[in-house]
Symmetry: C2
């Protein structure tokens, strides 16, 4: 991915907590902030994880403040003896700890309203370094705070992800973005499925995006396109972004399935709900992951009727009415059987749309002409049937996960192809297979 970000501000993250060093918890806060900053056109230069140790933390804080313009610290703001971040910050920057009366009152009220006793140690989160700007925590008790050392701004946020994320979105990211004087950044992610990253890149290459920076990112069988626009005002940045997004959508056509927070499952759900139709799924190698993805969306009961995980051949016949001779003649992993699964589950459940998936997740089950990773997909909506055959790279977990996403894309295609003429279906099928073969992004090019 080309560098899309301005290097003007040096931003670091510091996560505090023994549990982040014992293999128990991944530091998802830093990753969340990185992604949010990237959407604002900003990049994190460095991240560190340190234990709940006041000495270590104080020296990390002063070093980070020497290096960076902004340091975002998470964790260690709670009431227990393990929570030492405020004390370490006070020591690192030569401050005393003072009690923020407003926070104390707020915490007392919060505890009273929940019927918890307010013991003396609960006062601790209200004690912040002298001169700190306190930020009220709308979803928890411990307040966040900001220290300005003259050279660096240090944000101290709670480590609880729910609290961290709300404060990052509402306070930290907007404030950091505002530090770049006179520049407002806006970003948008377009989600594509059905081709490779290099094909997306190629399709976008001839387009004039002006000053809007563009990058791509592989996410399983999908490729995301990230657009970052900057302007002197929010309006200017938003206008530039909207123009760029329109051009990108024109160039990519039906490869784009959604933008922003959309997922394949939420997009499929919206498409079903908008048409007032229902869906049923018959899956084999994906083992329940297609149904699980569809029902992961709140309110899925409006359109999802039933899923069958027809693992055994008998179950394909008993539960989805696949004729046994079809399995005998073509094998369970075949176009004939996947079409029968989609038709059978639709008829059984009386839904408008039926989806079928059958394949070989591995490690065993391959034959001479059917490799591990071979998966057939079918979706039937109205009179329209879509069939796809993809060979995924081996790896049971990856085959199952990728296939579940491709199944959603095929279901979406069957719905949308009813709305508009299908565009080069053969080329798209080939692209899909190529995209699938690409596999997920690997952190580096260390394998040939």
């Amino acid at each position: 991915m080309p560098d899309v970000c301005s290097p003007r501000l040096l931003i670091e993250t510091l996560a505090v907590g023994d549990e982040l060093l014992r293999g128990e918890t991944l530091d998802s806060n830093a990753s969340y902030l990185q992604a949010a900053l990237l959407r604002a056109g900003l990049r994190v230069a460095r991240g560190a994880i340190v234990p709940d140790d006041e000495d270590t933390l104080a020296s990390e804080l002063s070093r980070a403040a020497d290096r960076a313009n902004v340091v975002v610290v998470s964790g260690g703001l709670g009431p227990t003896v393990d929570d030492r971040t405020a004390a370490a910050a006070a020591r690192a920057f030569g401050r005393t700890l003072v009690c923020d009366e407003a926070s104390l009152e707020r915490m007392r009220g919060l505890f009273a309203s929940r019927g918890y006793p307010f013991t003396p140690n609960n006062e601790k989160p209200a004690w912040v370094p002298n001169g700190a700007r306190v930020i009220e925590n709308p979803v928890g008790s411990a307040p966040a705070f900001v220290l300005d050392t003259g050279r660096a701004q240090l944000y101290f946020l709670p480590g609880v992800p729910r609290e961290y994320r709300v404060l990052a979105d509402r306070v930290v990211v907007p404030e950091i973005a505002a530090l770049r004087e006179g520049v407002v950044a806006r970003a948008l992610v377009l989600h594509t499925i059905g081709t490779t990253e290099s094909r997306v890149d190629q399709l976008l290459r001839g387009v004039d995006f002006g000053d809007v920076r563009l990058s791509t990112r592989v996410d399983g069988p999908e490729t995301n396109v990230i657009l970052v626009a900057e302007g002197s005002t929010a309006g200017a940045a938003e206008d530039a972004l909207a123009r760029a997004a329109t051009h990108a959508r024109e160039a990519l056509g039906p490869l784009v399935y959604g933008e922003g927070d959309a997922t394949l499952a939420s997009t499929l759900g919206e498409a079903l709900a908008a048409r007032g139709v229902t869906i049923a799924v018959a899956e084999s190698c994906t083992g329940g992951l297609v149904s699980a993805a569809i029902t992961d969306v709140p309110g899925a009961s409006r359109y999802f009727s039933c899923g069958v995980v027809a693992y055994a051949n008998d179950a394909k016949t008993a539960m989805c009415d696949v004729p046994p001779e079809l399995i005998k003649n073509h094998g369970a992993v075949s176009e004939a059987v996947v079409r029968a699964l989609a038709r059978g589950i639709r008829a059984r459940c009386g839904t408008d749309v039926g989806v079928g998936v059958t394949g070989i997740a591995g490690p065993t089950g391959a034959t001479d002409d059917k490799p591990v990773g071979l998966v057939h997909f079918a979706a039937i909506a109205g009179v329209r049937e879509v069939h796809r055959r993809v060979v995924f790279p081996p790896g049971r977990e990856r085959v199952r996960k990728f296939a579940a996403r491709v199944a959603l894309a095929v279901a979406l295609e069957s719905l949308r192809s009813g709305d508009e003429p299908s565009e080069r279906p053969h080329e798209r099928a080939g692209d899909l297979a190529r995209a699938a073969r690409m596999g997920p992004p690997e952190p580096s090019g260390e394998t040939p």
Copy 2:
């Protein structure tokens, strides 16, 4: 969790890669190593993530080598221009880069066997700092290497998780463990489900574990017990560990479902396979996650026949033969319906074991007497039926994930209760409900 680890060795991790600073990829390698070291009685003192920048990396490396005894570096060993770790290491420790001929030959052979052209840039991973000990990479092309600065040992591993993990397990963890002269550590994890962490703690409190250190860790609805034994020889450590494990199993009784790498799904799979029986699942609020968990285990087709995600009430009747009047009289989320689901799916699929799950994942669907988070479970094996009712804390994703695991535990219980007399089933049901209400571990006590 009390500190279980000896602080004698100071170990740090350093992950290299721009993608780890853009919110795209979480550094799962460091977390993997942390957990593996913890099992060997060792702890990581600090972790950092740095970009693919030679200057930054060189200064990070020399600072880490000044502070720590062991530094484990991941990423940046590949053939592209972004891969700068070896060059940075050479600069940091005043070495030149030299070509390791054995690695070069191995890579040429690997490329030839896969039919890839060996272009000049592919030589790059064979160039390592002078004096480095090269470690062959059994699952990739780029070799790993170790630098000894006199004060610190620095391990340089590929960032690709599959390669990192193999090298961590086979080389890094055993070598680090051996650095503690005269002390051999062995560790074991016991997995429990069916009660709270505090109850597990209470049950273990009266037991004499000698010098074996013990800690607990909450993992969703499960509580893990970690035992770490040290001795002057491997045999002594293993003997002490085995004695402690026996005592812990005696104290915890049927709460322990497995140890080591066992999961609920693998344990259930083994129990089914050992008895030569088959299983079918009818689930509602879990939306396919129970079937997905069972089929996540390679070879699940030996015992898993079919799953139905009976989301709509009509589907419960049409696919699992739940009498409509049962749903009308008791509601879809009820003991009567969950028992009917388990019996119905077993009869339909002709399996030995049937499992039913129905509940309210939220955010909507609650009634006056049925809150969000209420889930009923049933499992039927032979003539034995188990029913459980649990109210999970709200949160759609958590309810679905926790309920899927509890369903596996209930299925396992139905099988095992055929083998031995059931132990205080009422108490265990209460414990299970309490454990479920506990929710997942939060990183710190920052909310009341």
